[in-house]
Symmetry: C2
Subunit: 301 residues, 2 copies
């Protein structure tokens, strides 16, 4: 079953389009995770253990209201090999909890290097000692600056294992204007060209009609979502920027035109740090905020 | 001492502008490395050990003709936590051999995630258990699609520890035409806009005049190098695409306008697989090819 169909099925099963961002900062973990870390050992080992417990607790709390988690790879890589081991454990925990996993690394490189990223994230690597499996996620984010021939090895690697790729089209930060919004000679913008590339690369699932190549579209510029949908009629849109970055679920209706799985609403800090805004225990506050977002998006779609 | 000054000093000391790309494919390692891997254990552990030995042997053979190594992060990540541990060991081996290290991950993300990449690669991460050091490289590659405010946390993180950032401006693959070469309304191309961003972000070293923010410029389009130099007068240019991808050292003269360290010539497969083209033992062939490139670039600059 293609990624588009798997995504549509999972959204229907869980009645959720919410993607729980996992951006663990070792200096800002839930207190329980820090207290339960080993009392001895190298700082990196103790920090990695605390990050693992924080992520597991966050998944256990907010996961039931979500369809997927989105680990931010930078946050794990800063703990080196220990961080990568925690990332693998977090992926396993999320999948065992019935969640899809979207690895957020925004990777992009040429030819064999692009293929190596696909092997690292969704595939496996042949070695003289036998195949070595990768992280085993369901989808990953990719950066399209290097062009179609650089995206293809990642898309091919993902498609071979029914995984998906979410390509950056227009991001949620103000600096998106510097390059993505540039106006092209002959009309249109860079991001509209990127959207065309996404539409060209994707293959629609037989059941859902949803493509296996999606787009990352910041929810902080909702005025673009209708145009995105026009350019990429079948692509699932991954919509970060809700909550902490100022985006509102209510502005995202066009994302859901191809079906409820057409828009995935990603939130990180607004869920993990909900207790700082709304009070209460971190887990209960995270669960309540994820459920609030879930109900808002579901009602809209 | 700023990265620009460090780079200029190291190029002068080693009389080399060659960057040895480390793109280890577990299915294409030097035979000695495979034979010396542990006879028992999980495939991933044995493959990681073989990759470590291959990279060390390649550094020992070709490193004396080079100023830096450039590990391709995808190639290590596909072996998971074991691969990241090998990457750290390879970085240490290269630095102990007097080489600079440029981590080639082409990272790009927004705000705190961009800062986390800088921590992972060149900085350190505060945790409740003490600071955790990152990979400790001298520079890393970055993707500018997300704009200036996404590059700044990486540049700031690097500058704080006298490290450098090489920003993608125009890559060496044919697909570079799809996005980077798009013509803009009002004149110029996307890559010329990226070059302006690089020039704006860099700070010139006091001794060398060379900036701490450089550009990745494919050597497969030498007709652009003079224009690059015009737009980025102080930026070190990292020039991949020599050898296996068809670029020629002889076409790169404008890169060296601000001094010998103004152009870094990166080669990977043409060195590591020199024995396949030229015969002989892998180590001797790699050393000869690296020395040939070194002499050609040095004579030109």
């Amino acid at each position: 079953m293609s990624f588009g169909d798997r995504l549509a099925e999972r959204v229907a099963q869980r009645e959720s389009q919410i993607v729980l961002g996992l951006d663990p900062d070792p200096a800002g973990l839930w207190p329980d995770a820090v207290e339960r870390a080993p009392a001895q050992g190298p700082a990196v080992r103790r920090a990695a253990s605390a990050v693992a417990m924080h992520c597991a607790a966050l998944i256990d709390a907010a996961g039931p209201a979500c369809v997927a988690v989105k680990p931010q790879l930078a946050c794990f890589e800063r703990l080196g090999a220990d961080g990568w081991a925690v990332l693998a454990a977090v992926v396993d925990h999320a999948r065992a909890s019935g969640l899809l996993v979207i690895a957020d690394g925004k990777r992009g490189d040429i030819s064999v290097s692009a293929a190596a990223y696909a092997r690292a994230l969704v595939g496996s690597t042949p070695t003289p000692f036998g195949d070595v499996g990768g992280l085993g996620v369901d989808a990953f984010t990719a950066n399209p600056l290097l062009g179609v021939d650089a995206l293809e090895p990642m898309v091919d690697g993902a498609r071979a294992v029914d995984a998906g790729v979410f390509v950056l089209v227009r991001t949620s930060n103000p600096g998106a204007a510097d390059v993505q919004d540039l106006e092209l000679d002959g009309g249109g913008t860079v991001w509209e060209r990127l959207a065309q590339i996404v539409a060209q690369l994707g293959q629609a699932g037989e059941g859902s009609g949803l493509a296996d190549v999606g787009a990352v579209v910041g929810a902080t510029a909702p005025e673009h979502v209708a145009r995105m949908r026009e350019l990429m009629p079948d692509a699932p849109l991954l919509l970060p920027g809700i909550g902490a970055q100022g985006g509102r679920v209510e502005d995202l209706a066009p994302a859901f035109a191809p079906g409820r799985a057409g828009g995935l609403v990603s939130a990180s800090r607004s869920i993990a740090a909900a207790h700082e805004s709304h009070g209460g225990e971190p887990a209960a506050a995270a669960r309540a905020e994820a459920e609030r977002l879930r109900a808002a998006a579901w009602a809209l779609s």
